[in-house]
């Protein structure tokens, strides 16, 4: 290479180096000297058991942003899909960045957290001015609001350990029997009266199969997800009306009655061929999609979720009871020995025992769950039914008959109880779901499945940590 070429090359390299240095220096000067908002003294981590970019998460995030502006407390939110929450939760704790508050799906997920001491008491927390951050009466606001809500709803939605508050509801839902009115009409059944007992469910399903074969008479989701455990929970409670464990810690899931109830349910598919053809491949969301598409005649579902699904697909006029495309009523009872249960399920929010800012965390929990915010989910996903104060919100006022019917029928909570003194491993236990699937496929009997679960499940005493 000639000297001239080398000189030329060196000159180009030098120009590039100077240019990069100038740009880098300029950027550094800008970032070092620009005005920066003072860092928040406290940053809270919120772990939300719901996927990001869903209507609920969008609303929640809006309130978290408002909380930040009003209090100056920074909030970092993590939204996690249900199936991944344990892994994400474990990873956060292992990484030394545990959440300060957490939202979990009801007692099935919340109570095991109590069992491992991951929750903190909220009653004793005080603001700097000495006032209580949270007391039990503030969950639903004033006493006037409290009086408008069935006691069972409150009882099923708040949790205490040793008499002290540990978990409060963000929202409350219910499971009921829902049916496709058109399917009933096509089968020659009364579309305004659903079956009251499981035995009537079977009779109606057989009629639908005979007269309207285009429908799957009963939607059955047996996929290995939370819905499977919830179905078992519903069957169990409607049959026994008892908590899963007695006061001595004995697990009660494996009685002959319960096994017979579960077997009856499985027989809807395995013997009578009255369900969607491949339940193992179907979860609750698939079931809703099948119902939305007019393929399922009856199923157990949350009416307000289903309403949102159908409205978003333009498949429902819910302005009156007559125009509603689906009917709903309480979960059926068993003709012999059963009970017609009024079922509620709340998403529970709590302060974690790992939090180093428990007062601020409790403030955030209180802010997110106070009644004004609690019922303001006007996106179509939200809580069960309004207090008188919220009744004029469009979400409720536009479909008053719908919410009135739910309110009229759902008078109490589930039988789990709210004093988490003795905690079972939880219905959503992986072993229970594995065994139920095996029993459904005929690999083991239902009784063997429940016996195995009862033998292996660990019953622990709940603990909650006092904060320092």
């Amino acid at each position: 290479m000639s000297k001239k070429a080398i000189s030329k090359m060196l000159a180009i390299v030098a120009i590039i180096i100077v240019a990069v240095a100038a740009i880098g220096g300029g950027l550094a000067y800008y970032y070092l000297t620009r005005p920066v908002a003072p860092e928040a003294e406290v940053t809270l981590r919120a772990f939300m058991l719901m996927p990001a970019d869903t209507p609920g998460s969008v609303v929640l995030q809006g309130y978290m942003d408002k909380f930040e502006n009003e209090t100056g407390i920074n909030v970092e939110s993590t939204y996690v899909a249900y199936e991944e929450w344990k892994r994400a939760w474990s990873a956060m704790i292992a990484a030394g960045t545990p959440p300060d508050i957490q939202l979990l799906a009801g007692p099935t997920e919340f109570l095991p957290e109590c069992a491992i001491g991951a929750v903190a008491y909220m009653n004793d927390l005080k603001m700097p001015d000495g006032s209580a951050v949270y007391d039990g009466q503030q969950i639903f606001g004033s006493s006037a609001r409290l009086a408008a809500i069935p006691q069972g709803l409150i009882e099923s939605s708040t949790f205490s350990v040793n008499g002290k508050l540990v978990g409060v509801p963000l929202d409350v839902g219910t499971s009921m029997l829902v049916w496709n009115k058109q399917a009933f009409i096509d089968a020659g059944l009364d579309p305004n009266n659903g079956p009251d007992t499981w035995e009537e469910v079977l009779a109606d399903a057989l009629t639908i199969k005979a007269n309207a074969p285009a429908y799957y008479p009963f939607g059955l989701p047996m996929a290995r997800e939370w819905n499977l455990a919830r179905y078992f929970e519903i069957l169990y409670y409607s049959k026994t009306g008892q908590p899963i464990i007695d006061e001595n810690g004995k697990v009660l899931v494996n009685t002959t009655d319960v096994a017979d109830a579960v077997q009856w349910f499985f027989d809807l598919h395995n013997v009578h061929d009255l369900t969607n053809p491949d339940p193992i491949d179907v979860n609750q969301y698939d079931n809703r999609a099948l119902f939305r598409d007019g393929k399922i005649a009856m199923m157990i579902e949350s009416p307000h979720f289903l309403k949102a699904v159908m409205e978003s697909a333009g498949k429902g006029n819910f302005s009156t009871a007559e125009t509603s495309p689906f009917g709903f009523s309480l979960v059926p009872a068993w003709e012999i020995g059963g009970r017609r249960i009024s079922w509620t399920l709340a998403d529970i929010m709590y302060v974690t025992a790992y939090s180093k800012h428990k007062v601020e965390a409790a403030q955030l929990v209180e802010y997110l769950t106070r009644s004004k915010n609690l019922y303001d989910f006007n996106s179509g996903w939200g809580t069960l039914y309004p207090t008188t104060e919220m009744a004029d919100k469009p979400y409720y006022a536009n479909n008053k008959w719908f919410w009135d019917k739910i309110k009229e029928q759902v008078t109490g909570g589930n039988a789990m109880g709210t004093d988490a003194g003795l905690i079972e491993a939880g219905f959503a236990d992986d072993l229970l779901m594995t065994n139920l699937q095996k029993a459904f496929m005929g690999q083991i009997t239902v009784k063997e499945a429940l016996d195995d679960y009862a033998q292996k499940v660990t019953v622990k005493e709940a603990t909650a940590r006092e904060f320092l």
């Binding site: 491992i116 491949d278 193992i280 491949d281 698939d286 699937q437 690999q443």
Partner: protein
């Protein structure tokens, strides 16, 4: 003094790599072995309690190791054999001249390029009995009702189909490179001696390709045995526990059943098994070469 020796040694260039390897590979492996003798929940990793061989007794005594071993063998053997056969077949086809060969060679790589999550999710939809092309149209045409993934008899093999789809391009690529390195004169000489296609394949292609095939076999076996994403996305170890291969079971123990110590013990057993299998393969390769 050793510093001075290192200064003149070519190994000084490896120093950084060795340090990184030690931190990110060797240390985690050693710690996994150590933790297999402790019990602790994943939600409180600092709370470790020494239990000796208790975790290993639990792994061997509970019966789940036998079940996961059988499933892992079914999954690995089916996936590896399938991908080796298809990969070799595709490589042989692509080694011949035909119009559009370049385009086909590129397209063959598509499954390999897809992220595991995307590929497995796509197959899950395809196999769905209500909406999937395979599950709702093709299989019912042959009288098969229901999804392949929801039957305990077929679920693990359905997962293997996805794994074969994913791994075949890699095997094909390796075999193609090997085939193209075979001297053409060998085939010409065989032709002169009157050898047909099958004899050429048997006596020239396979022996010449055997080192490549063995490497592909080892990599395919180890990668498949360690493969978590496909099975977990498709079935989460279900239906029941029909697809709970070793890695899925280890995940379940650690993150769902909160028994991280037992998970570590099972992982140790699994790694030792893989090392033994790889050593046997390697001995076989060396034996053939000698």
């Amino acid at each position: 003094m050793w510093l001075q020796r290192l200064k003149g040694s070519p190994y000084r260039f490896l120093l950084l790599s060795i340090v990184i390897f030690a931190i990110f590979y060797v240390y985690p492996i050693i710690d996994t072995f150590r933790l297999s003798f402790y019990t602790f929940p994943m939600t409180n990793i600092g709370n470790q309690r020494f239990v000796g061989f208790q975790n290993f007794f639990e792994v061997f005594g509970s019966g789940r190791l036998y079940h996961t071993t059988i499933l892992t063998l079914e999954w690995t053997v089916t996936s590896v054999v399938g991908s080796m056969l298809f990969g070799l077949g595709i490589a042989l086809l692509l080694s011949e001249e035909f119009p559009g060969r370049g385009l086909v060679r590129t397209l063959i790589l598509a499954p390999w390029i897809f992220p595991e999550l995307v590929g497995a999710s796509m197959w899950k939809i395809t196999m769905n009995s209500e909406y999937g092309l395979l599950g709702n149209i093709i299989l019912p045409a042959f009288g098969f009702r229901g999804s392949l993934l929801s039957s305990p008899e077929t679920a693990i093999f359905a997962c293997s189909i996805v794994r074969i789809w994913k791994l075949t391009p890699f095997v094909a690529l390796m075999c193609l490179a090997g085939i193209q390195a075979i001297e053409v004169e060998l085939y010409e000489a065989a032709s002169l001696d009157g050898a047909g296609s099958f004899n050429k394949f048997r006596h020239i292609t396979i022996p010449q390709l055997s080192p490549v095939l063995l490497v592909a076999l080892i990599l395919a076996t180890v990668w498949t045995a360690n493969q978590f994403d496909i099975v977990y996305i498709l079935t989460r170890g279900g239906p029941g526990d029909a697809t709970k291969i070793a890695v899925v079971d280890i995940y379940s123990l650690a993150f769902i059943e909160n028994s991280a110590g037992i998970a570590q013990a099972e992982a140790v057993v699994f790694v030792i098994a893989l090392i033994v299998i790889s050593a046997l393969y390697y001995r076989g390769m060396r034996g053939k070469q000698s």
